[in-house]
Symmetry: C2
């Protein structure tokens, strides 16, 4: 929500979370209306007894709730269409504070509300993330922009980086950050996204969209001049979508062989729509003898560079792919073959040769598995960039 | 954080998020200290210039920041141990408001703070989730409990359910909810966890841990009498951990064949520590010809009950597993073989026979894939329960 508001040029200064408690909800809404021009309420519009956002809004507005028969009919129809029994509780979702407008999008059963309060405005949207997003983008933000008479255009672009810490990036970019502090436009912000690396967000304000885009393009070029090696993509790019695009451009197909990652690498590649142009499949060889029988890995230690290379070669052969990636290692909780937790070998078979890289990864079982996947995908990305 | 506080018997009434803005941080901290006995600050303790939690605390306390040389030495030593260059910014993390105590846990580089303010208390913990968790559980909560002189013991247990909506569960349990409203102890709460189903949390308050546990056990038995079929586990159980335990008890090994889920099912099973006792591996047959060549699926439509059954049989054979699950279907964005997005066939091969189930799943590409996995695992769970 904060990200969408920021992109729309709307300052979101305070976010408050309270439980399903009537007094605390009412006092928080009142406080929000005191210090801001608009308040967005998220959640508590469901059918159960602890969903009391409608009641809290009515209290703040000083009005009663009125049951809207046409919303009730729509809720009934939705249950019928899904072949499900409707409980009477669901009709509470048709209650609307007097004077409020119902927000037309209704992907789920919870209608949103737009409520005028003493020249300010209160929005209520469902807590279910995709319903919230649709109502926020479709109704709330356009309404806020209209009320604010926003003229300036705000655009932003995210440079996705991987392989360096936030403080390291800040140090590399320190000179440019100082310059921008003086200029005031565009601005830079860093955002750590766990195993997904560090995002560098450029935000530009201008009189027109074209002008804003041109500021972004200039700044992106300048930053890439400093940290270009670390940037794997922009905006919605992910490491896997970038690699799939690179493979597609080169007309190469991909297969994977996974041990400690258990299918995560295949899952990441296939999360990209259109992955089927490139991705042929994978072999999850969790048990050692599956490595030997399906991938032709030679008997011996399976947490090793040789096994990683043989897995990649085996996957390339078995799946008839041009390129194959492999992971083998120790996710924990216990060590394996005398290797400590976090020891991972990445394998890559391509152009008739195979290579392996040993990495020592930090964190618990889940983090080690996730890091192993992104490290493997990054290995392929860097290799493709050399070609 | 809210969950841990609730379990420790500490009411957390307000949660506020503000940006890295000095005035808004200071006013929010002051407001928090007005309406509560303690305030926990999370984040903004990092090394970059926008990390100003230390400065905001000093302002609220009316004191200056003092650089602690021994913390600086520890930070330097950590960088040296990791073989990394330390930037001067990192030494800002050694700044401590006068009168504050440093929280000893230091898994990362950001030390936590414990700050007395006019008879109340302010804690600052890092925003990195695992560092936050360690400090919260290790220091903040015990300190809060000591200050509160908490005598009552609070225990809770979560029943994990799958396959029914929150309102449906509430309707089934309505009679018991009414009774508990009168009794006041234990209490019930519902929590939707997306594709992971609905959690029903029982919370009991008592004079001793033993007494609280006995209340929980009684209530669990009572609820299972009403919704037992839908309960797949308790507390930290996941659908996959429950199924792995059932397979282990029965001495059965497991393999998977995945199409639209691309490795997600294998990834879920192998996220469970000790999965290697049971899980042999998987074949991700994303391209149709991989289904034919590696799994022996007969030529023909691959989004079909026959293909799902053949995939499960093929996986069982190729991976030499006792039991195999398979998924094939249409994750979108486009339809396939004339089948609409969301059409999924689940296959199960076990005891020399195979079966398939057709499901129509809602949502976008990612939700369809996730639902397909959990539906397949649930199919196996129900089948194992019959045995």
């Amino acid at each position: 929500m904060g990200e969408h508001l920021a992109l729309a040029g709307i300052d979101s200064h305070f976010q408050t979370k309270v439980g399903d408690n009537f007094e605390r909800m009412v006092s928080s809404i009142r406080l929000g209306l005191e210090r801001s021009d608009a308040v967005i309420l998220c959640g508590g519009l469901g059918p159960t007894q602890d969903d009391i956002t409608r009641e809290a809004i009515a209290e703040v507005m000083g009005v009663v709730l009125v049951r809207h028969p046409e919303i009730g009919d729509r809720i009934r129809a939705m249950f019928t269409a899904r072949g499900r029994e409707m409980s009477d509780n669901n009709l509470r979702q048709a209650d609307v504070p007097e004077g409020a407008t119902v927000i037309p999008q209704m992907p789920g059963t919870a209608p949103g509300l737009l409520c005028p309060v003493n020249g300010k405005v209160l929005y209520a949207v469902p807590g279910v993330p995709h319903e919230m997003r649709e109502m926020l983008i479709g109704t709330v933000i356009p309404d806020l922009q209209k009320r604010a008479g926003l003229a300036a255009v705000i655009r932003s672009r995210v440079l996705r980086t991987w392989g360096h810490s936030e403080s390291g990036l800040a140090e590399m970019l320190a000179g440019r950050i100082d310059e921008l502090d003086v200029l005031g436009n565009p601005t830079l912000a860093f955002q750590a996204s766990g195993i997904e690396g560090i995002k560098v967000r450029i935000t530009a304000k201008a009189g027109s969209a074209q002008e804003a885009e041109s500021i972004l393009a200039d700044e992106e070029a300048r930053l890439r001049g400093i940290i270009g090696d670390l940037v794997f993509g922009v905006d919605d790019d992910s490491m896997e979508s970038v690699v799939i695009d690179m493979l597609r451009e080169r007309g190469l197909s991909l297969g994977v062989a996974e041990s400690l990652t258990g299918g995560l690498m295949g899952a990441r590649f296939t999360s990209v729509p259109g992955a089927s142009d490139v991705f042929r499949g994978g072999i999850v060889s969790y048990a050692s003898d599956v490595k030997f029988s399906l991938l032709g890995v030679p008997q011996g230690p399976v947490v090793s560079a040789n096994a990683a290379k043989a897995m990649a070669e085996g996957a390339r052969r078995a799946l008839r792919a041009d390129v194959a990636l492999a992971t083998t290692g120790v996710a924990g909780p216990a060590e394996q073959e005398g290797q400590p937790v976090g020891t991972v070998f990445l394998g890559l078979a391509m152009d008739g040769v195979s290579e392996a890289q040993r990495v020592q990864l930090p964190g618990d079982r889940q983090r080690i598995r996730q890091y192993a996947v992104i490290s493997a995908v990054n290995l392929l990305r860097r290799r493709l960039m050399q070609n």
